[in-house]
Structures are given as structure tokens and as C-alpha cells.
């Protein structure tokens, strides 16, 4: 235990968690919502990073599984209405059910996901987007069609995650966003912790080797197709959780949100943040979610950026251009992304602190022949 307490990583984690939990007492609604997008995106990006970063399997279908999570929650949690149906399941169960549904959807696609490698899967998974859009628009009884559906608020142990006015902590009334914030943090931490355990454990080594050298992985005893399929299901479940959380934050689900651009956003997140790790996914998710909001808030002071519909570049477009450039910059100059940059800085600092090792005579057997 004392060993743990001395590790800087432990303190960084503890400090980070404390900061995360304190934030809702200080942030206004705008930034709370931005933060909630970022946290939801982080969960989804962790899943995509398991698949694409750690296993080398490109997926363009992540938005589809986000949609399954979002709509799955709404369908399970809602009561039957005039135009749309629902199952009226207790909301926490509906949340879990949404994650399972996304996993099942991933499982249905996994015969393909297990067989196709890398970019080929990327192309095949593009089909999911189109199938998804078609279903969201046309299965109106479930999805509400073009106009989407309202999202019933979560209710956990008698606490409703909405603006009902009976929760005050430290003299600060906690509304829907504050409450959801704590829920989101409580989901993000285990999501990241589990992914980290997987990546650093036996499955992670198998996944990394499938990415680096598929043939080597298989002759070392890794059932490659089964692993690819398994990781695909797992990443779908992460996307499902992210989608359900996003639905709770939005309070309304609409089909156009779950299009190809959303999949591209998630790919941008993991490339910018750093491929293959949970930390990279989180860093990238924060970057990609916060940038457009920063431009919305402060865009008026920037040249070229203007409100939508007034002729200039809208903040959302400007953000896309900026992180498109960020992706290119990372690919060219920052292999390992933001997290890789951090690792390199840390190595440089510790290298400076440590005195140089004395030079010893080469061992006889190490002498060049």
C-alpha cells in the first residue's frame, strides 16, 4: 500500500479525480455541458481505441453503436406513447440494457469484424452508418424518425437526474447537469480502468501483436478472428455506454447526429490523443469536444469565425478544420499523440534529474568481434 502511495501516478489519478468531482461546483451550464460531452466522448473513444489503436482494426461504424446505445436507452426506458413505443423498463436497467444491446449489435457484425483486417474492416463498417441512418429515419415507432425522441431522465436509488429542485450541496443547488456530471465520472473511471487492465494484460498483448504482426500472433496461439470479433463487441459496448450517456445529456436523440462525421470525430480523438491507450482516448476526447465550444464562446474575437449563417466560417466548421489540421500534425510530428508528447516530456525531465551512469568497460562477450 505505501508502495502505491509513493507512486506519482497514484497521486496524479487521485488529484485528477478530486478535480473532476469539484468542477460542477464551479462551472457554468455551458461548460458543464461541454464537459459532459467530453466525458461521454471519452468513454466511446476508449472503446474505439481498444479496437483501432490497440488491435489495428479500423472502424467507421462507431457512430452506429453510439446510436444503438442512445436509442436503445430511450426505447427501453420510455413508456408507450401516442406515436412511439417503449418498454418502460426502470431507467438504470435500461442503461445497462442499452450497453448490452450495443454489444449484441456488435456481435451480429462480428463475423465480418473477425474476418476483415485493418482498413478493409474500415470500409465494410461504413455500411453500418448507412444502415443506421436508414433505420433511424424510417423505423419511426422506435426512433421517432427525423424528429427523434425525448430522453427520459435516469432515476437511480430515488434520485432523478433532472432539474427537480430538491438537491442542494454546499449551498449550491445541483441541477440535471451537475447530477449527470457525477454519474458520468462514475462511469468514466471504471471504463478507463477496465480498458487499461485489458490493454496491459494478456488480451492486450494478443491485440497488440495482431496489430503489429498478425501471423506471429496466430502461431503464438492467438485465435486471431475470435479476438478481433471479441474486441469489436467490447468496443461496441463502450460506444453503447457513451451513446446512452450522451442521450441523457442531450435529453433528445436525433438521427443526424449519428452520421459519418461522428465516426470521423472519434477517429480524430484517438489519433490526436494517442493510439492504443485509455489515456490517449481521454486526452483526444477532451481536445475534440472542447475545441468547438471554445470557438463558439470566444470565436467572435477570432478573425474569419462568425455565427452560423452570417457568411464566415461557423465555429463548428472552424473546429473541424482545426482538428483536421491537428490530426495531420500529430501524424507527421507527434507519433503517440498528446499522451506520447507527455511521456516524452516526462522522460526528459527524469533523465535530467538522474546523474549520468558511469561508463563501464564492455563485458568481454559484448566486445564487438
Amino acid at each position: 500500500m505505501s508502495e502505491t502511495l509513493r507512486r506519482p501516478a497514484f497521486w496524479a489519478l487521485a488529484g485528477g479525480t478530486a478535480l473532476l468531482l469539484a468542477l460542477p461546483f464551479y462551472l457554468d451550464a455551458f461548460w458543464l455541458q461541454t464537459g459532459l460531452f467530453a466525458i461521454s466522448a471519452a468513454i466511446g473513444a476508449i472503446g474505439l481505441n481498444l479496437l483501432t489503436g490497440a488491435t489495428g482494426q479500423l472502424s467507421m461504424g462507431h457512430a452506429f453503436f453510439l446510436a444503438v446505445g442512445a436509442y436503445g436507452y430511450v426505447y427501453l426506458a420510455s413508456d408507450d406513447g401516442a406515436h412511439v413505443s417503449g418498454l418502460g423498463v426502470p431507467t438504470p436497467l435500461a442503461f445497462v440494457g442499452a450497453v448490452v444491446l450495443a454489444g449484441v449489435a456488435g456481435g451480429l457484425f462480428s463475423p465480418i469484424a473477425g474476418r476483415l483486417r485493418g482498413t478493409y474492416l474500415g470500409i465494410a463498417s461504413l455500411a453500418l452508418i448507412f444502415v443506421g441512418q436508414h433505420l433511424l429515419m424510417n423505423v419511426e415507432g422506435v426512433t421517432g424518425g427525423f424528429n427523434g425522441r425525448d430522453v427520459p431522465p435516469l432515476e437511480l436509488f430515488g434520485l432523478r437526474f433532472d432539474d427537480s429542485p430538491d438537491l442542494v450541496v454546499f449551498n449550491i443547488p445541483l441541477g440535471a447537469l451537475e447530477r449527470l456530471w457525477f454519474l458520468a465520472v462514475a462511469l468514466l473511471i471504471p471504463a478507463a480502468w477496465i480498458a487499461r487492465g485489458i490493454v496491459r494484460g494478456r488480451p492486450g498483448r494478443a491485440m497488440n501483436t495482431i496489430r503489429d504482426h498478425e501471423v506471429a500472433a496466430s502461431v503464438m496461439g492467438v485465435p486471431v478472428a475470435r479476438y478481433r470479433a471479441g474486441v469489436f463487441v467490447l468496443s461496441s459496448m463502450y460506444a453503447g455506454a457513451a451513446g446512452a450517456l450522451l442521450a441523457l445529456v442531450f435529453r433528445r436523440t436525433v438521427p443526424e447526429y449519428f452520421g459519418m462525421f461522428l465516426s470521423l470525430d472519434y477517429l480524430a480523438m484517438i489519433v490526436i490523443g494517442g493510439l492504443g491507450t485509455a489515456a490517449g482516448a481521454i486526452a483526444g476526447a477532451v481536445f475534440v469536444s472542447v475545441l468547438p465550444q471554445l470557438l463558439t464562446r470566444f470565436g467572435g474575437e477570432l478573425p474569419l469565425v462568425s455565427a452560423p449563417g452570417t457568411g464566415g466560417v461557423s465555429p463548428a466548421e472552424a473546429a473541424r478544420i482545426l482538428y483536421g489540421a491537428a490530426v495531420v500534425a500529430v501524424v507527421l510530428f507527434l507519433p503517440g499523440g498528446l499522451v506520447g508528447l507527455w511521456t516524452r516530456l516526462r522522460l526528459r525531465i527524469t533523465a535530467r534529474r538522474r546523474p549520468p551512469a558511469p561508463l563501464t568497460r564492455l563485458d568481454n562477450k559484448e566486445q564487438p568481434a
Binding site: 477496465i194 480498458a195 487492465g197 485489458i198 496491459r200 494484460g201 494478456r202 488480451p203 492486450g204 498483448r205 494478443a206 497488440n208 501483436t209 496489430r211 503489429d212 504482426h213 501471423v215 506471429a216 500472433a217 496466430s218 502461431v219 503464438m220 496461439g221 492467438v222 485465435p223 486471431v224 471479441g230 467490447l234 562477450k365 568481434a369
Partner: protein, 273 residues
């Protein structure tokens, strides 16, 4: 017989090219069997069939009575057949230890759930197998590099890591595809020592592809010679070295200097001096 590898009538054709043509040989349990032949003779293709990477067009391969030609690579690995690659096939970004731990894949169980939740049995398993992998790393002489990413290590060390990863599978049969290719004399010597000790200590069978005749003479109990996909000779190394068909095949392969029997003997003399 248990652990006996029997290759018979093995033929592999790629579009228009016959890489292996009716090849047969037997690897006795606990022996070192060398497959030699000029470049392009079909040695690596043979390894790829044995490990399930390529499909045989015709013929059969059995190990301890089990037919291998219909099995997927991971099923063959599960029988205790390990291999190294002529061109290094390690994960460059992973540490040496993690690369070796991959060799333990077939001997361990932790899945997504137990690794993700760090269940006690996953942690115990991990600790136990890491200890063994460290021993193997010491045995092969890469124990000083355990934490280093493989990609940062010199070629000779990476070749030894390939061997260590194979040994980490605790194989009953180990296939080594040109384990000393591109190494200098001292490195070759050390690698040969490791192979001799691995066989003596672990009692495994070894199938070895090698160009260096000096090395083949010293290590192998049996030699099979391939040329253009055909088996042209076989038997104890001393006999094979005198076989006129073998001399012809090698003299024909002038682009492969270390392959010639003449140069190999020269090298042996240099080593003795």
C-alpha cells in the same frame, strides 16, 4: 510415436510455381533436424505449412499422430509447436518482456473480464508467468533488456528475443528459421550454445533452417537438403556434406556465399584457430 514429426508427400504450389514438391522427412523426438538448401529452395514455405500459415496443396504432416495440415495456426501452437521467423516478427513497440509474455498465451487463461477487472487469478497467473519468462530471458541472454521496447534493440538481440519467445511457449517442437542469419561469428557461437543447451535442458525436438554448414554440422543429428522444392538428399550431416547432388546444388547458388560448403569449412577453420 509421441512427439514425432512426420512430413510426407508435401507439395505446395503457388500460382504457377511449385515451392515444395513431394517432400518427406521425419524428425525424431528430442533430435535436432536441419533443413538446408539454397535461397528459394522452399525451406520457409515448409515451415509455414508446419505452423499452419500456408495450406499444403497435397501431402500430410503429423505431429505425435495429429494431422497438422487442416489445423489453424493457433491450434498447432496449442499442440506445443513453436516457431521463429526468418525476418523478425516481434512487436516493436512492446517491451521485451511483453513480447516474451505473448509466448505464454497458450499457457495462460486471463480474458477480457478477468484482465479488465484484475481478478486475483489473473494477477497470480501474470506474476507466475512473468517469473518464468524472466528465467527464459536470462537463459537466452536477453535478461538485461526486459523493459526495453524491442524496436530499440540491435538486430542480433532481436534475433535472440525471437528464440526466447519460441522457448517461452514451452514447446515440444521448436522450428527455427535461420536463427543466426546476419549475425557475426561471436553472435553465431552464442546462439548455437543456446540452442544446444535448450535441447539438452528441455529435451525438445528442434527443426532448424540454416545456411551455415559449420553450424549445421555441429548441431544437427539429421539433415534434409532441399533444392527447387525437391528433397535431393538426407541423412547424417557428414554424409550429406559429401553428397555430390548437394555440392552441385550449392555450387549452383553462387549468389549465396555463406551457403557454399567450401566457405563453411573455411569458417570452421577460422573458428578453431
Amino acid at each position: 510415436m509421441r512427439d514425432e514429426l512426420i512430413v510426407s508427400g508435401l507439395t505446395v504450389r503457388f500460382a504457377g510455381l511449385t515451392a515444395l514438391d513431394d517432400v518427406g522427412f521425419t524428425v525424431a523426438p528430442g533430435s535436432v533436424h536441419a533443413v538446408i538448401g539454397p535461397n528459394g529452395a522452399g525451406k520457409s514455405t515448409c515451415f509455414n505449412v508446419l505452423s499452419g500459415v500456408y495450406r499444403a496443396t497435397e501431402g500430410s504432416v503429423t505431429f505425435g499422430g495429429t494431422e497438422l495440415t487442416t489445423l489453424a495456426p493457433h491450434r498447432i501452437a496449442a499442440l506445443g509447436i513453436a516457431r521463429t521467423f526468418q525476418n523478425i516478427a516481434l512487436s516493436r513497440h512492446l517491451s521485451v518482456e511483453d513480447n516474451l509474455m505473448l509466448g505464454r498465451h497458450r499457457l495462460t487463461k486471463a480474458g477480457f473480464l478477468s484482465a479488465g477487472l484484475r481478478l486475483p487469478r489473473a494477477r497470480r497467473e501474470d506474476a507466475r508467468h512473468r517469473a518464468r519468462v524472466r528465467d527464459i530471458a536470462e537463459f537466452v541472454g536477453v535478461g538485461d533488456h526486459l523493459a526495453a521496447p524491442v524496436g530499440m534493440l540491435p538486430y542480433g538481440v532481436q534475433k535472440r528475443i525471437e528464440l526466447a519467445r519460441g522457448l517461452a511457449m514451452e514447446p515440444r517442437l521448436l522450428l527455427l528459421d535461420e536463427p543466426v542469419a546476419g549475425m557475426n561469428g561471436t553472435e553465431r557461437q552464442r546462439m548455437a550454445d543456446v540452442i544446444v543447451r535448450a535441447r539438452a535442458d528441455l529435451g525438445i525436438s528442434i527443426l532448424l533452417v540454416e545456411h551455415d554448414m559449420g553450424m549445421v554440422m555441429r548441431l544437427a543429428d539429421e539433415v534434409t537438403v532441399l533444392d527447387f522444392g525437391k528433397r535431393i538428399a538426407g541423412g547424417p550431416p557428414a554424409d550429406v556434406q559429401r553428397d555430390p547432388a548437394v555440392l552441385r546444388a550449392y555450387l549452383g547458388a553462387a549468389h549465396e556465399p555463406t551457403a557454399g560448403t567450401a566457405t563453411a569449412t573455411e569458417e570452421e577453420e577460422r573458428e578453431r584457430a
